[in-house]
């Protein structure tokens, strides 16, 4: 009888140990899972710039005496426009696109 009681208590202790270690191991697996998923999804961490700077294109647009190129004139324009003119037009288009959907500027 005494032996049986002792065996039963012994089993309970082992049972507790298994449950205890089972929970601990689950926590270890969860720790690893969380850490690895965090590491895999770690995105680039960019820091703010020292002085908030605007895109040169936006700055050009804000410059005194700047006049946007007429959209119709640009699209309708045929020959006679030089290389520099074409480049400027391209810059204006880009600037307009930026005004519609401005890019977030770090540090601002």
């Amino acid at each position: 009888m005494a032996t049986k009681k002792q065996n039963s208590r012994f089993d309970i202790k082992i049972g507790f140990l298994i449950v205890y270690l089972g929970i601990s191991l689950t926590m270890v697996v969860l720790t690893l899972g969380l850490a690895l998923s965090e590491a895999q999804s770690a995105a680039i961490q960019s820091t703010p710039t020292l002085t908030p700077t605007l895109s040169p294109i936006v700055m050009t647009m804000q410059a005194e005496g700047y006049q946007p190129v007429d959209e119709d004139e640009h699209h309708g324009g045929g020959g006679g426009q030089g290389q520099g003119r074409n480049s400027e037009t391209h810059a204006t288009e880009t600037a307009e696109a930026e005004l519609v959907t401005p890019e977030p500027i770090p540090g601002t």
Binding site: F10, K13, I14, L17, I18, Y20, L21, I23, S24, L25, T26, M27, V28, L30, T31, L32, L34, A35, L36, E38, A39, A42, I44, Q45, S46, T47, P48, T49, L50, T53, L54, S55, P56, I57, M59, T60, G84, S87, E88, A91, T94, E103, I105, P106
Partner: protein, 412 residues
């Protein structure tokens, strides 16, 4: 014992030895494979990150020397608006790769982390405590040394150090490659030897000497307690620099840190290997592991006893080994030494950790009141690693003795 029974025991032992050898060879092959996979997957193309650190550039040109030049169109003509370059240095969990951008004069405008293998909770502290904000405005002529012109982050000193080193490498690279007439100072790293290194050496020496005491058991007993408490306070709560799985994976993967700035790492790793090889017993775990000390102190308060049920214990030890092995393999294959370090050491000593680590810490601390060192005996990934060093020592010793015996019998 009958002859048949003796043969049966001999056969069983022989079978067990064969199985053990197969497991050892398989484990070795898997480790090598993980190392090769990790090596093959290492190396990130940093080109896409140049655009992130040069957000105002319309066009980025990659040079052959790792220099990226950012251009923007102003009034129809293209102008250089800045440069970018990647720099790398070894941190706590392997190399940290940083991308740095400067203006045309070489002043840092932007820095970004491209890749790291640090423990996420600790590395995140750099971001939370605005560590990176110190760099914009500095240039290639600045020292960029922790404690000099850069403030480190407490609890993530090695990561802070490596980030500063990576940025220094990159900004000086830009200075040398793009800034005409840049006077780049020589890269001189002062050897960092301070209180943590002194404490660690003292713990190694005292524990080694006490371990060799054969007669004075009282001195040995109280000396061990003194060393344990000293380890808990210094390596644990004051410096938070215990031996972790990250150290093991860093060692195996070859991501050894710069000895000038991380001398502590070398003393710890090679100290354990050296002392275990000399005295045949792991000095760290039983003498000055701070987490082991915390468990042992709690256990001594409540009178906890070792609990190792005979038949179950050997199986549970295999579970512990499998856990440790899996974490090492993952760390090697993914080249993420800091990530696979699942021990809740930092959770106790620096109050940093994910929620499962907090739960694990509570379980371990409460468990320590009932069972003697439950974490060390059943969960710690380092115990099997240090055991393996001891096993290696025994194997070499046996082989040497065998060779000596053979040599003697041949000469006779």
């Amino acid at each position: 014992m009958s002859k048949a029974a003796a043969i049966s025991i001999k056969e069983r032992r022989s079978r067990e030895r064969r199985q053990k050898n197969i497991v050892t060879v398989a484990a070795f092959v898997i480790l090598i494979a993980a190392w090769v996979i990790g090596r093959a997957g290492a190396g990130t193309d940093v080109t896409p990150y140049a655009a992130d650190v040069l957000p105002t550039a319309d066009r980025i040109e990659a040079g052959s020397n790792g220099l990226f030049t950012g251009y923007a169109t102003v009034d129809g003509s293209e102008e250089v608006i800045g440069y970018a370059m990647a720099g790398t240095a070894s941190g706590y969990g392997g190399p940290i790769l940083m991308m740095v951008a400067t203006d045309p004069d070489g002043n840092i405008t932007n820095v970004a982390v491209v890749e790291h293998g640090e423990t996420p909770n600790f590395f995140h502290q750099l971001d939370l405590q605005n560590y990176y904000d110190q760099f914009p405005g500095m240039d290639y002529s600045d020292a960029l040394i922790l404690g000099d012109d850069i403030d480190g982050i407490s609890g993530a000193t090695l990561s802070s150090e490596a980030v500063a080193q990576s940025i220094r490498q990159a900004v000086r690279g830009i200075g040398g490659a793009a800034i005409a007439g840049a006077d780049i100072p020589p890269d001189q790293q002062p050897v960092k030897f301070g209180a943590p290194e002194v404490a660690l050496i003292a713990l190694f020496v005292v524990s080694f000497l006490l371990h060799r005491l054969k007669r004075r058991t009282t001195i040995k007993k109280y000396g061990r307690w003194a060393v344990l408490i000293a380890g808990l306070l210094t390596l644990g709560f004051i410096f938070n620099k215990p031996f972790t799985l990250s150290n093991v994976v860093t060692f195996l993967s070859g991501y050894w840190p710069d000895w000038h700035t991380n001398l502590y790492w070398f003393i710890l790793v090679f100290g354990i290997i050296l002392v275990t090889s000399i005295q045949g017993k792991n000095p760290y775990c039983s003498w000055f592991c701070p987490f082991g000390a915390a468990q042992e102190i709690l256990g001594s308060i409540s009178g906890a006893k070792p609990y190792q049920p005979r038949q179950l214990y050997s199986k549970l030890r295999w579970v512990q080994r499998a856990l440790s092995f899996t974490a090492i393999v993952l760390g090697l294959a993914l080249r993420q030494p800091g990530t696979v370090s699942y021990e809740p050491f930092g959770t106790l000593f620096d109050l940093q950790g994910s929620w499962p680590q907090w739960v694990l810490l509570v379980l371990v601390l409460f468990g320590s009141l009932v069972i003697y060192r439950p974490f060390c005996n059943y969960i710690c990934p380092l115990d099997p690693v240090v055991d393996y060093i001891g096993e290696g020592r025994r194997w070499v010793k046996n082989a040497w003795q065998q060779r000596s015996k053979t040599a003697v019998s041949t000469s006779k």
